[in-house]
Amino acid sequence: MIVSGAEDGNAIDRIAAEWAGRSLLGLAPEERAALAAWRAADPRHAGSYLRAVAIGKLAVKAHTEDRQAVAEPVPAHGEAAPRSFVLSRRRLLGAPLAVSLALAVGLGVYHQFMADRISTERGEIRNVALSDGSAAVLNTVSTIDVRMEPARRTIDLVTGQAWFDVAHDPARPFEVHHGDMIVRATGTAFQVSALQDGMEVVVTEGTVVVLRAGGASPIAQLRAGQRLTVEQGQVQQRSLDPIHVEQSLAWQQGMIVLDGEPLAAAVEKVNRYNDIQIEIATAQLGSRRVYGTFRARDPEGLAKAVAIALDAEVEKTDDRILLK
């Protein structure tokens, strides 16, 4: 990461935050002038200040909505609450605590939502921000069910493939379930793929534990750069080269990396992304091995490359491409 010579972004955000805090409390005319001068000194200052003020507003909004979610109005909390009133100090000190508790209850209410289903269509790759701060990226034709509960976070990988970047929260394990297998993490990044009769896990950051549903002890622990497959009950674990880790994530950029697999398997991969399906005329052609990086949404490009590399012919109709 290149660090720019002058002020670093964090430092600017800190100063902007201080200004936003002060203007929240009300600025004297000379402070106003000083703020204007600071904002004018660098476009990043103006941007960072706008962001800080907006974050302050977001805090009020999130709070107000939360109050609605709790649906248990507390008197004297209306938005237009009178300013000039006298309260005992004890009551006042209690008030913020009550608000914090209400916030906590509000979060609880939120988490009781039923599972949220998220799916992608053919050719779609989708980034999803999960409510706990984690992120998921779904590959083409994939479905997950997300269930956020107070004590745990559960994702069912119904079909396909998804990568997860888990927000750190040791108190709420993050589990991905597929079949009778469970991948458990607290704060880490990993990818889970449904296989024909099993599952594949690739860890890109941190560690995860793999369990069998109902099983007491883990069947494996994986570190960053490791891959585990369970196929027909057989468990295999191995370390990957950094390049292979990259390759297994390339789909997030819309790429497919072919690393010497038979053309038939490669075509099956590409066909998952496109309405136009590639077909291979002979088993002999299907068994030829292919290498290279291809755009998943460009079946014609792949077909042309294969035709050149393997000396095959391409025959194209409206909804399919035949390789022979």
Binding site: R39, P43, L50
Partner: protein
Amino acid sequence: MLLPDPDDRSDAIAEWVSVEILPHEREARRWLTRSRLPVETDDIIQEAYARIAALDSVSHIRNGRGYFLATVRSLALQHLRRTKIIRMDYLADLALSQIGDDRPGPEAIVWSRHEIQRLILSLPERCRDIFHLCRIKGYTQKEAAEALGISENVVEKQIARAMEILTVRFSRDGDAS
């Protein structure tokens, strides 16, 4: 004076930003990180906000997310052209074309509310209480100081601290990039 107060204008823009832009900042940051472009994420994000700050009005912007992501992308390209590095690997190339291609979901807005609540809960207790009185309940600095039996100076410091924690951590995914 008949001209609109510049503070009113920027307040309206900040209001709009809090709903239309902040929820998508994380997506922009992640895209920048993933693209592996040799550019400084914080600079680009701040400059993107600066573009909005410079607008007279935001009423012509239909899709805040699209606008913000496109701005981030064009700023990233500008920064990139300023660096001496010519070669980009295909990932960067591709990621550039992909920003904003995902369908926007209500998740981003829910997430942003959730994120700010989480950050408020993470504030030190005293800091959080003072922030609540001033920001949420609308107390003045003086009222808050009297109510809590502390000096106005302490109120100001704690508000600055709360804002600092919220702004530095918001959307930054744990450790700053």
